[in-house]
Structures are given as C-alpha cells and as structure tokens.
C-alpha cells in the first residue's frame, strides 16, 4: 500500500529574501514541506489566506510592519487563530530562547537566528500534529 504523505505548508515571512529562499530550499529538500516565501510584511496576511499555511515563521524586525503587528493580525483572523506562529529573530540570544522554553511573554514561540534545519524541523514537528491526524 502506498502511503501518500501530505506535505506541511510552511509560510516564511521575512524581509531578507536570501534567508527565506534558504529556508524554503532546505525544508523542501527534506521532501516533507511545501514552503512559501513572503518578503513584504504588508502582504503577509493575504499571502497566508492564499497559501493557508500549517505553520508560519515570522521575522520580528522588518520594514513597514514589524513581526509583532503581523502576528497580531494573524491571530485576529479566525482562519489563523490556531495556526502556530514562530518568531525567527536575531534580537534574542539562543540561550534565552532555550531557557524560556521557546515562549515569549506573549505566548508566542520563537527561535533565535541563526537556526539549522534540525531546529526548524524539530520546531515544526513539535508544534504540528502529525499530518495524518489533522
């Protein structure tokens, strides 16, 4: 019996195209993820509506709109209220991210840049139920 694995849809919102491209490349290279890049925070919500991601990686410091505002809009949207949003930020040291268990004071998850593929995958898998269970 052939089991078809449904790829998880990951949206990465970051104003740094080089980074979003590399996230897409490495995650898609695992064969388990379908990744969409968005480099303009103002378009983040519409892209999310269009892509319907299972998990969103979100940069914090961005021009036009920072990650906090984008997260607030997503959480305000019923469609994404339950979609995990993980901040990927260069402003917090890894040690703090680890010692706080990856939670910000607002209850958001976050990872400290730079982050490797293993951390990304672990984060995704820890925060999503298995695809089959969805």
């Amino acid at each position: 019996m052939i089991t078809t694995i449904t790829k998880r849809k990951i949206l990465i919102i970051d104003d740094e195209p080089g980074f979003t491209h590399m996230v897409r490349l490495t995650l898609e290279n695992t064969g388990f993820y379908d990744v969409r890049e968005e480099n303009k925070p103002l378009l983040a919500l519409s892209t999310a509506h269009e892509f319907k991601p299972d998990l969103i990686f979100l940069d914090v410091l961005m021009p036009d709109m920072d990650g906090g505002d984008v997260a607030a809009k997503l959480k305000a949207d019923p469609e994404f209220r339950n979609t995990p949003v993980v901040f990927l930020t260069a402003t917090v040291p890894k040690r703090e991210a680890n010692s706080s268990g990856g939670l910000t004071s607002g209850g958001f998850l976050f990872l400290a840049k730079p982050v490797g593929i293993k951390e990304l995958v672990k984060c995704i898998e820890d925060n999503l139920k298995p695809a089959q269970q969805r």
Binding site: E16, G18, F19, M22, V23, L25, T26, N29, T30, L61, L88, A90, T91, V92, P93, K94, R95, E96, S99, K113, P114, V115, G116, I117, K118, L120
Partner: protein, 626 residues
C-alpha cells in the same frame, strides 16, 4: 791801618803829581837851549842844571814815594774789591742755588708783566728747561691767554696798589688738561728810589694736598649723605658711652632737631633704664674686650612707655694706634617685623591647633577627589560602553541574518553532498563549527549590548553556584579540575535574576577552566561580612550600583583558580569589551564585560586580583535584601 783811598782821592793825587812833573820839564828844556852861550854862563847853567837836577831828583824821589803809596793803596783797594766781588759772587751763587733748589716756584716780572728772573721749579712748571728761557717772555707764551690774563690782572693790581697778596690759591689748567693748584704770595718789587718796577712771586704746588682735600671732601659728602639719609640709626660714642656723633635718623628717634644736640648725652637721657642699662653694659664690655655685638635684637623701652625693637650691631672705635677710644653702632628698626613675627607665631600656633582638622579635611578632600575621579572614570567607561553597546547590537543583528542563511545553506549542502564525499562533509562540518563560533561572538555582543530588565526573585547564591557547577560538570571533569566548595550555610537571601546570575558563574568557571589547561583547583567561597569604610568607598562612584554603605552587610562570593594569573598590566583591562588573554578562537573578550554588567545590574560589584599564592581571585559582592 791803611785807610782805603776813595777813587776821587786817588785821582787828585795822580793829577797833582803830573802837574808838578810837567813844570820841571819846561825848565830843563830852557837850560838846554842856553848851553851854547858861554862857559860862565855855561857853568852857571850847569850849576843851575845841577840844582834843577837835584831838585828834580828830589821831586822824582818824592813823587815816586807818593806813587808807591798810591799804588799800594790802590793795590789794597783792588784786593779788597776782588774779595768783595768774590764774596758777592759766592753769595749770588748760594742764593741762586738756593732758589733753584727750592721746590716752590719763584719768579720776578717787570711792569709789563715780562719775566725778569725765575727759578728752575718755575721754568719746569712753564715747560722749559732753564730759567733763562723764560726771561723777557710773558705768561701768555706758556699758557692759555685767558689764564695768563688772570695772572697779569693780579700782578697789575699788586703793582697799582703797591700791596702784597699773601697765600692766595691759584688753579692752573695744563695743556694736557690736568689741573694744578698753587699757594701763591706776590709782592711789589721796588727800585732804589722805592718805585714799583714789577712783582716778585713765590708759588707752592699744593695739588696733592688739594686733591687729597677733594677726595676727603667727597668722602665727607658721601658720609654726610649716608648719615643724613639712611633710615637706620648710626651713632658714635666715647668710652663713657656718651654720644659724640649721631645721624639724622637717630636724632629723629630721639626727637632732636639737630643731631649735634645729642653730643655728650647717653642712652639714659633718651631711653628708660630698662633698655639704657643693658645697652651701656654691652658697650662697656665691648670696650673692654674689643668683641663686637652683631645683629643683636634689642627691645627699646622709652620714657613714655612705648616699646620698639631694633637689630643692633656695635663695633669698637679705635684711634690710629689701635687703641679703643669708644664705640660706634648701627640699629635697624624691626618693630614692624617683630610685630609680623609675633602675628605669624600666633597664626602658626593657631594653624598648628587646626592642623588636625585640616589634615582630616584634606584627607576627606582627597577621598572625595578619588571618588570623583573613580566616578568620572566610570562615567567615561559607561559612555564608552553605551556607544560600543549600540554598535554591537547593530552589528549583531545585521550579522545574524547572513549567519542564518549560511547555516541553512550548509545544512542543505550537507544533505545534498555529505553522503557522496567524506571530504566535502568534513569541509561542511568545519564550516559549521566556524559558523557556531561566529554565532557565539554575536551572542556575546548581544548580551553585552542589550540592557535588559532583571527578573529578580529572592534566592540563595549557593544554589546558583551549585547549578552552575552542575551545568559545567562535564567540562570540569574533562579539564581535571578539582572543585572545592567553601559555601557558608544560612546565607541571607538576595534579590537575584537566577538565569543571569547563573550566566555570571558559568562565565567565571569557564574562565577558570581555561586558565588551568593542565588541571588545577577551582575554589568557590561564599560568606557574609560587614564592609569596612575602604571597601564601601571603593564602589562609591559606581554608576549602576547603589552605593555601598560603610558597615553594610553583604554577601561575598570568591572564585579562585590555580592558573598562571593575569599579567599586572592586563589586570585593569579585563572588564574592557573585547579584551582577552585567551588564544584566538577561545574567547570573545566579552565574557567578563557581560559578567560585570550583570553584577552591577544587581547592585553588586566585581573585582579581580592575582592571588599571592598564584592564580586569580574574582570577588563578587552582593547587597543583602533589606
């Protein structure tokens, strides 16, 4: 005795004789003429002739005798005359010699003021060699016309008045410009009839005397000026200490209009006995011993009760034979000086009494200065750190994004290529390690740069120490480090951010491990103490910590290693950002900077020193929660 015949008498004798002899001749001639007449007549004539002859013979004999007498008289007279002339000549020579050898100038001038005679001294004075060279000439031939005219005017006055001029002082300017003085007496010269025919002058050179007088006069003038103007009192006294001379200043002090009024008086006439007696005693002792009194400070007490102070020097006054004939002295009024000295002494005594306070004030000032200096240094350091911090934050943030791309890129490459080629996988692994190192540096920068609020809770420092040791257990074992815990029980609770305090100890322990590459002992010691004033003051300028107070209870944590220590020149820099003594790649140079920052955020302090027995001691002081 033969009388000397006058010239007239001799002439008369001679004339008579010649007259008689002349008549005899004419008679002889007439006898000779009649001889040719006859014999009688001839005989008669012969008789007559014989008689005439006899008469003649008699006459001749008589005349010869007369002539002889005359001749003898004349010869006698000639001899006398010759003797007189010789005596005269001798007298003249004597006189000439006398006046020529006289040092005084002697000269005779006629009515036209021409020189008739002079002596050698005068000739030499006029600049010629012999007195004869002067005769017939006038003064103008030897000296300036004006000078000559002056002389001649005096001469004419004498001749006109027929009165001598006695002992007048004349000054002559020589052609070479030198001046000569002479003491001159001039008198009129008379002929046999008493007529004034010129003058006779005698001048004595008194130049040396005059010059001496001038020098003396000058010295006298200087002495007078000194005596009249010097503000110090000068006085001369005889052997009985009676004033013989005082100067103007002394007269003023005595209230005398004229210094001469002091003559014959003593100190007892002007001062009270309190001063006069010791002054008298000093002088008598000086006269007895010849020992001077030098710069003696004397208090003078006056009859009206007021007091003055003088500095006195007294010397013996001696005559030419060296015998002490009195004393002389000079006194300088030092009353104002003494007053100032007294005031100074008083001020000094006051100063001395205030010295302790001053020293204390100075000490406080010094301490304040040191505190200010420390505060200033820390402010500068804080400014520097803030600037560096802002820069570091910017750099860290900007570097992290590319690091993130590289990290994911390496993961991608590893998954794509790692399984195919071991070398490629090794290169990727090495690159990932380098990336992690860069990442840790960036983390350090962020730790240093981002001032965060502390999450403070009550806590025990010993617990944080133990947790930190636990986290580093593996590294400690690998490094063959023996851990000695000297943690005091029942330490007071502290306000701690547990995570950040843990970071502090981890940093310190990691440093210690790296300082002991061949193993060693890590000692952690905790205890409480009360700060002494020096320790409290040391941190008084701290910018972030609240100031420790003298005697305040604190918790101390000491971390000792047994490594090689820190070079003395590096000790002051260990908290500077990016300063490290570790080999390249082993330290970011931010560990102690961040550690210090965290400790200071807790209101504590951190210091580092080399231990005398070797290794480094880090001392942390935390304020006890109130």
């Amino acid at each position: 005795m033969l009388r000397s015949m006058t010239e007239e008498e001799a002439d008369s004798t001679r004339t008579g004789f010649l007259r008689r002899f002349s008549g005899l001749g004419s008679r002889v001639r007439s006898l000779l003429a009649g001889a040719s007449c006859d014999t009688a007549e001839r005989k008669q004539a012969e008789d007559k002739l014989r008689r005439t002859h006899d008469e003649l013979e008699q006459l001749i004999q008589g005349g010869a005798a007369q002539l002889k007498a005359i001749n003898e008289t004349l010869q006698s007279q000639v001899v006398q005359r010759q003797r007189a002339e010789q005596a005269l000549a001798e007298e003249r020579n004597l006189l000439r010699g006398l006046i020529d050898n006289l040092p005084d100038r002697i000269y005779v001038r006629d009515r036209q003021c021409r020189y008739l005679n002079d002596n050698i001294a005068h000739a030499q004075f006029l600049g010629v060699s012999t007195p004869d060279s002067v005769v017939g000439k006038s003064a103008a031939d030897f000296m300036p016309a004006a000078q000559a005219e002056q002389y001649e005017a005096v001469d004419r006055k004498i001749m006109e008045s027929n009165q001598p001029l006695l002992n007048i002082e004349e000054v002559t300017t020589r052609s070479n410009g030198t001046r000569r003085w002479a003491l001159t007496t001039k008198m009129p010269l008379h002929d046999a009839r008493g007529n004034v025919v010129g003058i006779v002058g005698i001048s004595r050179d008194i130049t040396q005397r005059k010059e001496t007088e001038l020098v003396l006069a000058k010295q006298r003038s200087q002495l007078d000026a000194l005596m009249d103007n010097i503000p110090d009192a000068i006085y001369f006294k005889d052997r009985q200490s009676r004033f013989t001379l005082i100067n103007r200043a002394q007269a003023d002090r005595f209230g005398l209009a004229d210094p001469a009024q002091a003559a014959g008086k003593t100190d007892f006439d002007f001062f009270s006995k309190e001063h006069a007696q010791p002054a008298f005693d000093d002088e008598q002792e000086l006269i007895r011993t010849g020992q001077p009194v030098v710069s003696k400070e004397e208090k003078e007490t006056w009859p009206d009760g007021h007091e003055t102070w003088v500095s006195t020097t007294k010397e013996p006054l001696r005559d030419q034979a060296g015998k002490i004939i009195g004393t002389f002295g000079i006194s300088r009024d030092i009353t104002a000086h003494k007053k100032s000295e007294d005031e100074l002494k008083f001020a000094y005594a006051e100063l001395e009494s205030n010295r302790g306070k001053l020293i204390e004030a100075l000490d406080n000032l010094k301490k304040s200065h040191e505190q200010l200096k420390a505060a200033q240094l820390q402010l500068i350091q804080a400014e520097k750190l803030q600037s560096v911090g802002r820069l570091a934050a910017g750099v860290a943030h900007e570097v992290k994004n590319p690091l993130a791309i590289i990290m994911l890129g390496l993961d991608y490459l590893a998954s794509e290529l790692g399984s195919k080629d071991a070398t490629t996988l090794q290169v990727i692994n090495d690159t990932q390690k380098a990336l992690k190192r860069a990442d840790s540096i960036v983390h350090g920068l962020l730790d240093f740069a981002v001032p965060r609020e502390l999450d403070l809770h009550d806590g025990q420092i010993n617990e944080v120490v133990d947790q930190s040791l636990q986290l580093l257990k593996h590294q400690l074992e690998m490094g063959h480090i023996v851990v000695v815990r000297e943690l005091k029980n029942d330490l007071p609770m502290l306000h701690l951010d547990r995570v950040k305090t843990q970071q502090v100890f981890i940093n310190l322990f990691l440093n210690a491990i790296q300082a002991m590459p061949n193993g060693g002992t890590l000692t952690i010691r905790t205890y409480t103490k009360h700060l002494d004033p020096n320790e409290a003051r040391r941190d008084a300028g701290d910018r972030s910590a609240e100031h420790f107070r003298d005697g305040e209870m604190v918790v101390v944590a000491e971390v000792d290693d047994t490594g090689t220590g820190i070079p003395a020149e590096a000790l002051a820099k260990v908290f500077d950002p990016f300063f490290t003594t570790k080999p390249a790649g082993q330290g970011t140079g931010l560990g102690l900077t961040v550690t210090q920052k965290i400790v200071e955020l807790h209101g504590g302090s951190i210091s580092v020193c080399n231990r005398p027995e070797g290794g480094v001691r880090i001392t942390l002081i935390f304020r006890v929660r109130e």
